[in-house]
Symmetry: C2
Subunit: 317 residues, 2 copies
């Protein structure tokens, strides 16, 4: 029976799919849910708008004693990462805050200072929002970004043979990286302007989970080279549970790096062009294959194994 299904038993992706089917298909040139942002055309304008929203909830995304400046930074950074994943620039933000009435004004102010500081860095403005009572502290940030008309980078477009790249290093979130990540706005803008990616998304739930989403959308598979995974030094230091560092790197979530594919004929030029432009690492971690929804791992011993596991998915892990 439908009634007995909970968010825990169905998982986040199925829940979102069920809700999307109720919301209905978007009209006109609107790109609805399913990508990192919704893309809407603006009549008479030179740009499309990117609309996105993310929650940051106490006990889930931050702790009671987390530096509030980093809470504000993270709340804005998550939204910026979504906008970066469309090759856009952030423009306006609304911030909703709910909190118990015992919450200090100073805590809220410091959250806002953290939010404002990241906004200034990327030229965005906080222009509204609402506050209200709630049993715990939670922020919901709504972001509006923009991208030249018709140019938004998409999750769709990956083809068998395309190389898979990821920016930065993976798996540092458990060591505090989830509070200090840099949204890849600059890299997203450059990738869009230069036209390198065939498909692109940000890594919010771990490469394992997010890459599977990319595979589903594109009806393809992938093979990852375990030895190529750029593992965060923090993972190696933290590693005390017997799980391989690369496994943490692929499943820990909250990296907020960019994951994208590039046509094989353009890889060499792309890689040298990237190196000429950024100091940030960009690593080729595998390739797209034709076997739909199958994720394979080439391990250190040279063996290729099919990977059934999921990375972090909200509501179940």
């Amino acid at each position: 029976m439908t009634e007995s299904k909970t968010l825990k038993t169905v998982g986040e992706d199925a829940a979102i799919a069920a809700l999307q089917s109720i919301a209905g298909k978007a009209r006109d040139a609107v790109i609805g849910s399913g990508d990192d942002c919704a893309v809407v055309p603006v009549e008479g304008g030179t740009h499309d708008w990117l609309l996105t929203s993310d929650p940051v909830v106490e006990g889930i995304h931050f702790d009671a004693d987390t530096d509030p400046r980093l809470v504000g930074r993270k709340a804005v950074g998550r939204v910026f990462s979504d906008i970066a994943a469309m090759g856009g620039e952030p423009v306006w933000l609304l911030i909703n805050v709910t909190a118990p009435e015992s919450c200090t004004l100073e805590w809220l102010r410091t959250v806002y200072r953290g939010a404002r500081s990241l906004c200034r860095k990327y030229g965005a403005q906080i222009i509204g929002g609402d506050t209200g009572k709630g049993p715990i502290r939670a922020l919901h940030v709504f972001g509006v970004g923009r991208v030249p008309r018709g140019d938004a980078l998409r999750r769709s477009g990956a083809r068998p043979g395309d190389a898979i790249y990821v920016t930065g290093r993976l798996g540092g979130s458990r060591a505090g990286g989830h509070l200090k990540f840099e949204p890849r706005i600059e890299q997203g803008l450059w990738l869009r302007e230069q036209g390198w990616p065939s498909a692109l998304m940000d890594v919010s739930d771990g490469v394992a989970t997010d890459l599977r989403r990319l595979l589903t959308i594109n009806r393809v598979g992938a093979e990852l080279d375990v030895e190529a995974i750029p593992v965060s030094p923090a993972v190696r230091r933290l590693n005390d549970d017997g799980q391989a560092p690369w496994m943490h790197a692929l499943t820990d979530g909250e990296d907020f790096e960019l994951l994208f594919t590039v046509s094989p004929a353009r890889c060499a030029l792309f890689e040298s062009s990237w190196k000429d432009t950024f100091r940030l690492r960009c690593t080729r971690i595998g390739a797209i294959t034709a076997t739909r929804n199958v994720l394979k791992l080439r391990e250190a011993d040279g063996e290729v194994r099919t990977w059934e596991a999921h990375g972090f998915e909200h509501f179940r892990r």
Copy 2:
């Protein structure tokens, strides 16, 4: 000391003002926080865009056993009411949901059906959002509306002598009206197109609290005629605590009616024009005065008293 101030001791308006001052003044032609929506221009576009967001939290805005269809309806209705208060039409919505993993998919689906039904009625589309874990069920709806360039209705513009009007009847929220209110989109559009109001806002926290906000913005005062207040029949039925029905009507909150002012020379024509257009009641409840921030009540006995009390304000009441 700043550190000892909490949301309870400072109240919502002071908290929002403190956060706005951190967010900074909006650039360009942007109208930032302080009105019902932020208004942003689009280069070369024929419309300005209205951005707004509202939380709807379990235990605050709805109960565990509230019909989920009405929860979704209310979450969308609050945002539509903000857009109506700018004379705009709603276009796109994002809905963030946080919930414990025990939350049933059917509950969420029904919330979405309620949200969709109100969206369809007013031609808006749900095009995105996010779901995530949280200790209780909460929705944050982000709305984008539009209004012909430069034409957004504002809270500012009221002058001494202007008549004060309110749509519908006040005070029904405690009897369930807060779940079933009709956002005054049609009326807001008509008022803007006809150019009647000198200032307009929606009533979300009770006329007493919201009118005070209007007075502060316009540096004026007001005198309300207690006998003219259109009290909801539900208030008269519920009234069992010795408080006058008109006091409930002015302070209960969550009416989501429109509160606006009209120049005295135009009142007669406005009133007949309204009656020719809508079956909905619209009541003249008082007038703007020159005495800054002073709210007076003309009571049934003919006496005029200054009213210091506040209506519902989040975090304290």
